[in-house]
């Protein structure tokens, strides 16, 4: 198991409400690598992110996903989270009546319990909150408010990265984390993500625009078109996309199935 890749996605097909969105995704991510997935609207980027996190309603019709050698798709969403998978939502959900700090303590302790670590008490947790809140310059006041309720777009995204810092995932999936952010907010969010880069943490950064990749520089970049990865390369591929758009890739035939798209 030590030699198997950290995350292997093979021939992944998935549909939402009867429409096939993913049509044979191949992707391998090793520990500590940052992979960007780009693609035009409707290409399946967000679907891929949600399928990996286990969102109900996203049906996998074919293929498999091995995470640390385990069958990820067989795991409930909460189990994936406890095993270290984290999805930063494109649209974080507002939950009136549940305070952010209570929610986060419950989440952190559920994960710690799963890992055989002692649960944090209130004081220990607040100390952790203070330390991690600095990372994304999040106001402690926001931490006490109901989850995402009344947060601005930028505050919601910062809250996602703040959660990521608290939950300390092994695999972080960032779904369009740049959408709706102005340049200052983008810089703060990207700065938080960069501080969380480590040889122990892999990331999949899903984005429509190359802009985010100026701040979070990936090790590898993949282009998703119509549910398949049609091109993989290094970060320089982003510049090519920036120049030519997605149209030139949409016209190319997909690579033959079986060729691992991710570099090793």
């Amino acid at each position: 198991m030590a030699n198997s890749p950290f995350l292997e996605i093979h021939n992944l097909h998935a549909s939402v409400a009867g429409n096939e969105i993913l049509r044979g995704v191949e992707l391998t991510v090793n520990r500590g690598e940052v992979h960007a997935v780009m693609g035009p609207n409707g290409s399946g980027k967000s679907t891929l992110a949600h399928v990996l996190a286990g969102r109900p309603g996203y049906t996998v019709t074919e293929g498999k996903v091995l995470y640390k050698g385990q069958d990820l798709l067989a795991m409930a969403p909460e189990l994936r989270a406890r095993e270290g998978v984290f999805l930063a939502f494109q649209y974080p959900v507002e939950i009136p009546g549940v305070s952010n700090v209570y929610f986060l303590k419950a989440a952190v302790n559920a994960i710690r319990k799963h890992r055989g670590l002692p649960e944090y008490d209130a004081m220990e947790f607040l100390a952790l909150v203070r330390q991690k809140a600095k990372l994304v310059e999040i106001d402690e006041d926001l931490v006490k408010r109901p989850v995402n309720e009344g947060f601005s777009g930028g505050e919601k995204k910062r809250n996602e990265i703040f959660q990521m810092a608290l939950l300390d995932p092994a695999l972080a999936i960032l779904d369009e984390t740049d959408s709706g952010l102005d340049i200052d907010a983008l810089r703060i969010v990207a700065g938080g993500v960069n501080q969380l880069r480590s040889p122990e943490r892999s990331m999949i950064v899903v984005t429509h625009y190359q802009r985010l990749l100026n701040y979070i520089v990936p090790d590898f970049l993949h282009v998703l078109v119509e549910g398949r990865i049609v091109r993989s390369g290094g970060k320089e591929l982003a510049l090519e996309l920036e120049e030519k758009g997605y149209a030139w890739l949409e016209k190319e035939p997909p690579p033959s199935v079986g060729v691992p798209a991710g570099a090793h």
């Binding site: 286990g54 109900p56 409930a76 909460e78 406890r82 989440a107």
Partner: protein, 417 residues
């Protein structure tokens, strides 16, 4: 147990012939003449009305077979004070409440209020007077304990609250019991000009109990009435709450929470009558129904022809936790003035799937996530209770009724961590 009891009653019903509960007129020697006359009038009214049937619009969703087909015998429970009254409040006898007792609740069309008026134990009626200008230091708690009688018993608790001018008080009515009982209660409340009253009703009778409660509120100019109506117990419970905003600047806020499970049937009917200009009402009722329980919310807002500048907002939100649970929600606006602001909204649904996934995606197990969201849905009504000791008690009781909510009970307070 409660379900077996109901099943047994059904068998009796098929063998019997029609209603079995025939209340009898009662005499209360030594009472003042006006009260005797009122009782005779009320009993006559009950006899001509009879118990409501499903043909009565007001009882369309609530069948009364399990009340009318049981030969209830007379029970002896009555409202009592949980502890001595704080200064500024005193008790009156019915003789001392002439012109007020029985004048707020209309029994012309309400058979249960008529029956209560005819039969309530005069000596047991709890008549509370808050002195003008008094600001009570602590809440007054009235307990109506049906106990655990051996046979099926019915009683007619009667409460009258007279809040004096510019007084400020908080009164709790707590309905408890552990037997097969029928409580037919009436609470009359009068707020003098400028009076402020917070009234909390906590109904946690046994799951074999039947409970019908008529609450009638009359508000004078500049008074402020807040109601917290929490229904947790009883096989069948119905609360009729009406507030008449009878003076300029009067305000009422009605908050309700009904939490049903098993085969409970919880019915809440409110009428807010904007009878004068410049009055304000806020209403928020929430239902959380699990199992095969059924909830009813019927909220009427009346704006009289000259009640200009009325400001009314009514909201009913219901959460269904199982496929068998059901809520009937009917908002009714009767607006006869043209310069008014009235809004109402009603939603009934299940737990938000997106919120559930969000919590689970952070490692929180599905049962805990459901409990947390259910608690959050219900708790904002409890949070509106201003007296901390009462709020904590309601939250504690809720914690025992909501599925898995004990662990989530601290979720809503910001300092929970």
């Amino acid at each position: 147990m409660p379900m077996e009891a109901i099943a047994a009653e059904k068998v009796e019903k098929s063998a019997g012939s029609g209603p079995r509960f025939v209340p009898e007129r009662a005499e209360f020697p030594g009472e003042p003449g006006w009260l005797g006359a009122l009782r005779r009038e009320a009993f006559g009214r009950f006899e001509s009305l009879g118990f409501p049937t499903p043909k009565d619009e007001a009882w369309r969703y609530t069948g009364l077979q399990t009340v009318t087909e049981i030969p209830w015998t007379r029970g002896a429970w009555a409202p009592r004070l949980a502890k001595p009254l704080p200064s500024g409040a005193r008790l009156l006898t019915p003789a001392g409440a002439e012109g007020r007792l029985g004048r707020i609740v209309p029994f012309e069309k309400n058979a249960f209020a008529a029956l209560n008026t005819a039969l309530f134990e005069g000596a047991g009626a709890l008549i509370l007077e808050i002195a003008p200008g008094a600001v009570l230091a602590e809440p007054i708690e009235i307990v109506i304990d049906a106990g655990a009688p051996d046979s099926a018993e019915a009683a007619y608790p009667r409460v009258l609250i007279l809040a004096g001018e510019r007084s400020e008080s908080s009164v709790v009515e707590s309905y408890v019991g552990s037997g097969r009982t029928f409580t037919n209660a009436v609470t009359e409340i009068a707020l003098a000009p400028g009076a402020i009253l917070e009234h909390t009703k906590l109904q946690e009778e046994s799951l074999e109990a039947r409970h019908v409660h008529t609450v009638a509120v009359q508000q004078a100019r500049g008074s402020r009435f807040t109601s917290h109506n929490v229904a947790l117990g009883s096989a069948l419970a119905r609360t009729d709450l009406s507030a008449i905003l009878g003076g300029e600047g009067a305000e009422c806020a009605l908050y309700g929470l009904f939490v049903g499970r098993g085969r409970q049937h919880l019915d809440n009917r409110t009428v807010i009558d904007h009878a004068t200009p410049h009055t304000t009402s806020r209403e928020l009722y929430k239902g959380v129904m699990d199992g095969a329980s059924r909830g009813v919310f019927h909220g009427t807002i009346v704006v009289r022809p000259d009640a200009q500048k009325t400001d009314a907002v009514q909201t009913n939100k219901n959460l269904l936790l199982s496929r068998e649970a059901l809520v009937n929600s009917t908002p009714a606006l009767e607006i006869f003035a043209d310069d008014v602001k009235c809004k109402h909204g009603s939603t009934t649904g299940q737990l938000d799937a997106a919120a559930l996934f969000y919590l689970r995606s952070r490692g929180i197990g599905e049962p805990e996530a459901r409990a947390l969201l259910t608690w959050a849905f219900a708790a904002d009504v409890a949070e509106k209770i201003r007296v901390p000791s009462i709020r904590r008690r309601v939250e504690r009781e809720l914690g025992q009724r909501l599925p898995g909510a004990e662990s989530a009970a601290t979720a809503t307070s910001g300092g929970a961590a």
